[in-house]
């Protein structure tokens, strides 16, 4: 329920507090259904993904990797998932190492 609340709040904030009618038109979800969602009805996964996609598009973020990762987590074996996790973790570690230091003497200062 928290994720649902968060995504609805994000959507409302990003789209300038749209009316129920505007939300229904934008998301393709029926007007009465939108009303029920805003009043506490549990969201279906498909509805959540629609809102999530809208939020990410508004924020300029790609949703491809996340949807793909979700699909992998649903369909692949634990071994295959661990393999992907290992690859992604290494990518992130290399990214972290590649971030520029602000001061060339930062290391010497840290150690001293």
């Amino acid at each position: 329920m928290d994720s649902q609340k968060i995504i609805l709040e994000q959507y409302s904030l990003l789209f300038g507090k749209p009316t129920i009618k505007e939300i229904a038109k934008d998301t393709g979800i029926q007007l009465t259904r939108v009303f029920r969602l805003l009043n506490g009805s549990s969201m279906k996964l498909s509805e959540y993904l629609v809102f999530q996609k809208k939020v990410k598009e508004k924020m300029g973020l790609s949703y491809g990797l996340e949807v793909l990762a979700f699909e992998c987590s649903q369909k692949l074996s634990p071994t295959a998932i661990m393999e992907l996790e290992a690859i992604l973790k290494r990518k992130i570690e290399v990214w972290k190492i590649s971030q520029k230091q602000e001061s060339p003497n930062k290391l010497e200062q840290k150690i001293a």
Partner: protein
């Protein structure tokens, strides 16, 4: 993150395994930028793999048994090997505009049927190749050429059955 090494960390360890160095010497030996090294060195220090004293970095040989056995665990070596192979493939398929220097990467994949005799000849060639590499490394111990760690050539080779490769791909899901 697993307790293995990234390629950028391993080259630093290899550099320090030859002799202790200051950061400028590591920079020259590994061709890693100063900024990158400033991010790598604290990680290695925290993992007790290296020591730092009066501007000089050295391998932490006291704890070597602990960290060597960790980084050389099969699953960690497997991930490093995967990283090497992926980078080799990416490097080979870079176009001329992306490469900053003349292309040195070679990458060949061959599939063929071999008779028993041909299989033995191939194994013999591969043993000869391995013997050649061992000989070169021995020669470097007695006749060092002041080579930089980053200037080493990386050679990847292996052999397997086609069907095993396909099986592996199908089972990896």
């Amino acid at each position: 993150m697993s307790e293995g090494l990234l390629m950028v960390e391993r080259i630093v360890i290899e550099s320090l395994s030859k002799k202790e160095k200051n950061i400028q010497e590591i920079e020259l030996d590994t061709n890693l930028s100063h900024g990158l090294l400033l991010n790598i060195m604290p990680n290695l220090l925290m993992r007790n793999m290296i020591r730092y004293k009066s501007g000089i970095y050295s391998l932490d040989k006291e704890h070597a048994f602990l960290w060597l056995s960790e980084i050389n665990k099969t699953e960690n070596i497997k991930e490093e090997a995967r990283e090497i192979f992926t980078s080799l493939v990416n490097q080979y398929f870079k176009n001329d505009e992306e490469l900053k220097k003349p292309k040195v990467s070679q990458f060949k994949i061959q599939k063929m049927w071999l008779t028993k005799e041909e299989e033995m000849i191939l194994k013999s060639h591969m043993s000869t190749l391995e013997g050649f590499f061992t000989g070169v490394k021995e020669a470097r111990k007695y006749h060092p050429q002041r080579e930089k760690t980053c200037e080493q050539r990386v050679v990847v080779w292996g052999i397997t059955d086609y069907s095993d490769l396909i099986d592996g791909v199908l089972k990896a899901v």
